[in-house]
Point group: C2
Chain length 295, copies 2
């Protein structure tokens, strides 16, 4: 069994990016600049955005954090987004979700210039991905593809089963694994809450990507020998014996499934750390594209 | 066995549209206007575009056919598209494919205003479809959904197997059948040229959508009793005994598979006739959306 170590891989990627940024500086080029918009002061959101800003600093990106009160109006938020679209100093930006109720998240999403949409959530980018065009791939799926690529996990002709059809993981993964190229060329089955007899399906899988958020959902009796397991579930489970009062766990019964798997992502330390690394990668790609078009 | 009669269903839809157009006229409203751009004079393309124009006449739409020589430059074609985008009299338009070699089809596709893209091929519309937003669904997949809907074929919790991953049929169908709602909520498996042991997969299917273009590919031993068959393959097979010198056939061994199927589309007369009806439907939707925004 080989551990798909996301912590190490994401550190490798960050170092590679830092090196590129260093070269940009030495060549007198402008370095990538990521902006993050945070509405309100939700604890988890603050933590996520904080990690993203810190990651930018680590690789030498410029970063800008725009904090808006939770009472901000939709019009004001849209104005902020238009300003970021128009600001030539900014290569890419994200709007941290969730947004407060007075704001239509879909409207906000659609207002982001697709060329600065480093989260890859804009329909134009999502459609380009589904139509095999060059685009931004959302960070979590991009992180999974990168793990498969760097660990040289064969995907061609394999049967990949995706559990969960969310817009940010399940649906894009089901599309990406069936595209031409590597990683890709898999036969892909997308399963969800209406799927009957999921065990009969997971038992046929060479690769399983699970993104349910149900701790211990995938048990050893549901998988074949030598299966590849990508666990995207991240759930906090209350545990008074832990210093933080909780522990983090995925969708997979790691202890038992890992005995059968050929490759498996741990949780934490698997897909999670890859996400921020891929956001940085997308920002670097945005910078490169913009500089090619003279910006 | 129930025949999914696309000829009858498409006629029903055209009559419904004609009635709506009649009401528009009586209310003094502007009727839908579809334009088609045809480059060159390829026989098959002429036939397709001709059928579309004729279908517009039949339901009372206005139509405009723009014919450009096969020597047209990319710049000239793009200008034509910008003119159509800007022309408030036009509700929707299509660019008949294939295009000559000197023209980058992707560039042309991206130039179409998504709000007039009644073929549903623009990435913004494709992405909206994949993200469950309101959009234009490409005509062939839209036709299949409509057949399933009108014949009340249950899709929820069923296992749909899609054969072929083309941008215009296989990929969108694999997305649409797994979306929430009806038709949808299927467990979906997308298969293609790299799929191993396709028979083991089709034998698990409650619904099979095949879009390969290989006559007789799907045989009776590959399907279960009561399977639902959607045959999108359309191949001309040379046959001197026929008046036209050929006959049209699908991917399915109809004679034998139909004995096991609960529902099946004939070829011709199944999915084919639905395509033009759904193009008209998309044009009507475009007109409605535009009139709601005061155009």
């Amino acid at each position: 069994m080989i551990l798909l170590d996301g912590r190490k891989t994401s550190n490798d990627i960050k170092e590679e990016i830092a090196k590129e940024v260093q070269e940009m500086k030495e060549n007198g080029e402008r370095v990538p600049h990521l902006a993050a918009v945070l509405v309100g002061s939700d604890g988890a959101s603050l933590t996520y955005v904080g990690s993203k800003v810190k990651a930018c600093e680590r690789v030498g990106f410029e970063s800008t954090l725009i904090q808006l009160p939770h009472t901000v109006s939709e019009v004001e938020l849209l104005e902020t987004i238009h300003d970021l679209n128009d600001n030539d100093e900014i290569d890419g930006f994200i709007v941290q979700l969730p947004l407060p109720k007075q704001i239509n998240a879909q409207k906000v999403l659609l207002a982001v210039d697709p060329e600065k949409d480093v989260d890859g959530f804009h329909p134009t980018n999502f459609g380009k991905m589904a139509l095999d065009m060059s685009t931004f791939i959302p960070a979590t799926p991009f992180g999974i593809l990168t793990l498969l690529e760097r660990f040289k996990v064969e995907t061609k002709g394999k049967h990949t089963v995706v559990i969960g059809r969310s817009h940010i993981v399940g649906r894009p993964m089901s599309i990406l694994m069936g595209r031409k190229g590597f990683p890709g060329n898999s036969t892909v089955t997308l399963t969800h809450s209406y799927t009957k007899d999921i065990k009969a399906i997971t038992l046929q899988a060479d690769i399983i990507v699970t993104a349910l958020g149900v701790p211990g959902f995938l048990t050893a009796d549901m998988v074949n020998e030598d299966v590849v397991i990508i666990d995207v579930g991240i759930t906090r489970v209350t545990d008074e014996t832990k210093a933080k009062g909780y522990y983090i766990t995925g969708d997979v019964d790691f202890e038992n499934v890992s005995k059968k798997a050929s490759y498996i992502t741990p949780v934490p330390g698997g897909v999670g750390p890859m996400t921020i690394a891929m956001l940085l990668k997308n920002t670097l790609i945005a910078r490169d594209r913009r500089s090619q078009s003279g910006k």
